[in-house]
C-alpha cells in the first residue's frame, strides 16, 4: 500500500513539473510574440504601446464560457500573434482602398517576419501597378483588390509575400475558425460602417480573422482600434453573408 502511495505521489509530482515546464515554454514564446509586436509598433512611429498594453492584447483572450454550446468550434480560446496595421496612412480615411494591401502587410509580418509599416503598403501598390498596369495603384489611397478577374490580392500575396491562398465561398463561420485554429489567418469579405462590421448597408471590406474566444476575433485595418476586435458569431455572420461568405485561408 505504501509503495502504491509513493507511486501516486511521484506521478502527481511528475505531472506538476511537466505543467510548470509547459507554462515556462508558453510564457517564453508568448513574450517572444510580445517583443515582435512591440518592434512592429515601434516601426509604425507614433503608436508606441507599453509592454502592459501589448500583454493585455495578447493575453486577454477570455476563457470559453463553461457549458456553452459552441458546436463545431474549438473547445478552447486562442489568438494568432499576427501583427496589426491599419490601412491609413498612407492616404486618407475618406478615400482609402488599401484594406486588402494592409491585410497583406499583416500576413507578410506573420509568416515572413516582414516589416509592418505603411511604406510596405505603398510598395505593394507599386507592385500591383506593375502587375496590372493600372496607375491608380500609385495613389496614396491605393486601388481595389480581390480574388476574381486579375486575382490582384491572390497574386499580391503569392508574388510579393510568397504566400498561398485558397478561396472558399459558403459554409459557416466555424469553418473559418477551424482554419485559424490550425495557425492559418483567414481573409474574410465583410461589410463595414464607421469602422464596425454591419449586417446591412455599409461598404465592402477585407478583414483578417485571427482568433476565437467564444467570439470571432479579427484584425480590422479599417479602424485605428482594429487590433483583436471581437464580434459575436451572429454579428460576424450577418456581415460576412452580405458579401457572399467569401473566406480565404492564407498559408505558406
Amino acid at each position: 500500500m505504501k509503495r502504491f502511495s509513493w507511486l501516486v505521489m511521484l506521478v502527481v509530482i511528475g505531472i506538476m513539473v511537466s505543467q510548470a515546464a509547459v507554462a515556462v515554454t508558453v510564457e517564453e514564446s508568448t513574450w517572444g510574440t510580445i517583443k515582435a509586436l512591440y518592434r512592429t509598433e515601434e516601426m509604425n512611429c507614433g503608436d508606441n504601446w507599453t509592454r502592459q498594453q501589448i500583454e493585455k492584447y495578447v493575453h486577454n483572450f477570455v476563457p470559453l464560457e463553461e457549458g456553452a454550446n459552441y458546436r463545431g468550434y474549438p473547445p478552447y480560446s486562442f489568438g494568432l500573434s499576427v501583427p496589426f496595421i491599419k490601412q491609413v496612412p498612407p492616404g486618407d480615411w475618406d478615400n482609402t482602398k488599401n484594406c486588402g494591401q494592409a491585410c497583406g502587410v499583416m500576413l507578410g509580418g506573420y509568416y515572413n517576419g516582414g516589416a509592418v509599416a505603411d511604406w510596405v503598403i505603398i510598395a505593394e501598390n507599386r507592385w500591383l501597378r506593375r502587375f496590372t498596369g493600372n496607375t491608380r495603384y500609385l495613389n496614396d489611397n491605393g486601388w481595389y483588390t480581390n480574388f476574381s478577374g486579375k486575382n490582384t490580392l491572390g497574386n499580391l500575396l503569392y508574388h510579393f509575400h510568397a504566400l498561398r491562398t485558397i478561396v472558399y465561398y459558403g459554409n459557416q463561420p466555424d469553418d473559418i475558425i477551424n482554419e485559424v485554429a490550425h495557425g492559418r489567418p483567414v481573409l474574410a469579405g465583410v461589410r463595414i460602417k464607421d469602422g464596425k462590421l454591419v449586417g446591412s448597408g455599409g461598404t465592402s471590406h477585407w478583414v483578417l480573422v485571427v482568433g476565437w474566444d467564444g467570439r470571432i476575433v479579427i484584425h480590422d485595418p479599417g479602424t485605428s482600434s482594429g487590433r483583436y476586435k471581437r464580434y459575436s458569431i451572429a454579428a460576424f455572420r450577418d456581415s460576412w453573408e452580405e458579401e457572399g461568405k467569401i473566406y480565404v485561408p492564407v498559408f505558406r
Binding site: 490601412q87 491609413v88 496612412p89 498612407p90 486618407d92 480615411w93 475618406d94 478615400n95 482609402t96 482602398k97 488599401n98 484594406c99 486588402g100 494591401q101 509599416a117 505603411d118 511604406w119 505603398i122 506593375r130 496607375t135 500609385l138 495613389n139 496614396d140 491605393g142 486601388w143 481595389y144 483588390t145 480581390n146 480574388f147 476574381s148 478577374g149 465561398y169 469579405g189 461589410r191 463595414i192 460602417k193 464607421d194 469602422g195 464596425k196 455599409g202 461598404t203 465592402s204 471590406h205 477585407w206 485595418p221 479599417g222 479602424t223 485605428s224 482600434s225 452580405e242 458579401e243 457572399g244 467569401i246
Partner: protein
C-alpha cells in the same frame, strides 16, 4: 370553325383594349419613373430638393478614436437635420447645416486628420458651402465583390455615381479668390498659390530648368528652410526613361529613387502618361515624404512636388497642395 377562331381573336383584342382603357396611367407612371431615374447623375448632386430627411443616418466616420472637440461637433451634426440622396440608388450624399461656418479647406482637412476621422466605411466631408456641408459615402474600402455575386452590379453603380461626383466637383472652381497667380510665358503655364506664400526663382541644371520654389515662409539663403512645393520643368529627351528616372536627377527626389527597382519604358510610353502621382515615404535613412505629380505636355515634363523635412510633414499642406495642383493651367 373559322367563325370560332375569329370570335376568339376578337375577344382577346376587346379584353386587351378594355384593360388599356381601365389602367392607362400605370404605364405612363412607369415611364415617368424611368425618366427620373435616367436624369443625369451630375444634375442631381446640387438639386437639394431631391435630398430627403433621414434621422437614422450618421456622418463623420469618427468611430471611437476621434478627439473630444470633433466628437462633440459630430454629435451636434448627427442630432440635427440630415438629408440624404442615394445617388444612382446606392452612393450616399448627405447634407447638414454648416453650424460653425466652416470653410471648405477646414472641412476637407478633417479627412487627413487622424484625430478627427479615423475609420473606414463612413460618410465623410466632401464640400463645405456657406450654409451647408456636403458629406459623401464610399463604395468600398478596397474589396471588390466577385463578378458573379449579386453585389457586383451594386458596386459598379456606386463607382459610376462616385465618378460623377468627382467629375462634377473637379470642374468647380476651388481656388480661393485672394490667391496670387504666376504665369510663365517661357514655358506656357500658370499656377496659383496662397497670397502669404513666397515664390523664389530656382537654379538651372543640365537639362532641367527649375522654375520656382513655393514656400509658406521666406527662405532666401537660409539652408535650414526648405521649400514645400517645387515646380520643375525638364525636356523629356532620350536620357529620361521613367518618371522615377526623371525624378532621380531632380533635387530632393534622388534619395528616394536610388533604392527603387525600376523597369525602363520607352519615351513614347512615358509620354503617354498624362498625369501621374507618385507618393514616397520613409525611404533611405531619413524620414522623407513627398508627393509628386507629373504632366506631359508637348514633350515637356512638368512636375509639382510636395516635400517635407524632418520637422514638417508635407501633409500639413495636403489640401493646399491639391488646390495648387488643380490651379495649374497650360496656356
Amino acid at each position: 370553325m373559322k367563325t370560332k377562331v375569329f370570335l376568339g381573336i376578337s375577344l382577346v383584342i376587346i379584353i386587351s383594349f378594355g384593360i388599356w382603357l381601365i389602367f392607362p396611367n400605370e404605364s405612363d407612371e412607369l415611364i415617368e419613373l424611368d425618366v427620373n431615374r435616367e436624369r443625369p447623375l451630375t444634375d442631381q448632386i446640387e438639386n437639394w430638393s431631391l435630398y430627403q430627411e433621414d434621422s437614422e443616418i450618421t456622418v463623420g466616420g469618427t468611430g471611437d478614436c476621434g478627439n473630444a472637440e470633433y466628437t462633440e461637433f459630430f454629435k451636434k451634426v448627427n442630432s440635427g437635420s440630415r438629408k440624404v440622396l442615394l445617388l444612382n440608388n446606392v452612393l450616399e450624399l448627405v447634407i447638414t447645416p454648416n453650424y460653425e461656418e466652416i470653410t471648405n479647406e477646414q472641412f476637407l482637412a478633417w479627412n487627413s486628420d487622424d484625430t478627427a476621422i479615423c475609420v473606414a466605411g463612413g460618410i465623410y466631408p466632401y464640400y463645405a458651402y456657406k450654409d451647408k456641408l456636403l458629406w459623401k459615402g464610399v463604395c468600398s474600402t478596397g474589396y471588390i465583390p466577385p463578378e458573379n455575386s449579386s453585389d457586383y452590379q451594386r458596386f459598379q453603380d456606386c463607382l459610376e455615381a462616385e465618378e460623377a461626383v468627382e467629375k462634377y466637383f473637379s470642374t468647380t472652381e476651388n481656388v480661393p479668390n485672394d490667391w496670387l497667380t504666376f504665369e510663365s510665358d517661357n514655358f506656357g503655364y500658370q499656377i496659383s498659390y496662397p497670397s502669404d506664400w513666397f515664390l523664389e526663382e530656382g537654379n538651372q541644371f543640365d537639362n532641367i530648368i527649375t522654375d520656382f520654389y513655393l514656400s509658406p515662409e521666406q527662405c532666401g539663403e537660409n539652408d535650414a528652410c526648405m521649400s514645400r512645393f517645387v515646380v520643375i520643368l525638364t525636356v523629356a529627351d532620350k536620357g529620361c526613361y521613367t518618371a522615377e528616372d526623371c525624378a532621380e536627377v531632380m533635387p530632393y527626389s534622388a534619395i528616394c529613387s536610388i533604392a527603387e527597382e525600376r523597369e525602363q519604358v520607352t519615351i513614347d510610353q512615358f509620354s503617354a502618361i498624362e498625369q501621374y502621382e507618385y507618393p514616397e515615404e520613409n525611404c533611405g535613412t531619413e524620414s522623407i515624404y513627398q508627393k509628386v505629380v507629373y504632366w506631359i505636355r508637348d514633350n515637356t515634363l512638368y512636375t509639382l512636388q510636395g516635400l517635407d523635412d524632418s520637422a514638417v510633414d508635407y501633409r500639413h499642406y495636403a489640401e493646399t497642395f491639391e488646390l495648387i495642383k488643380d490651379s495649374i493651367d497650360f496656356l
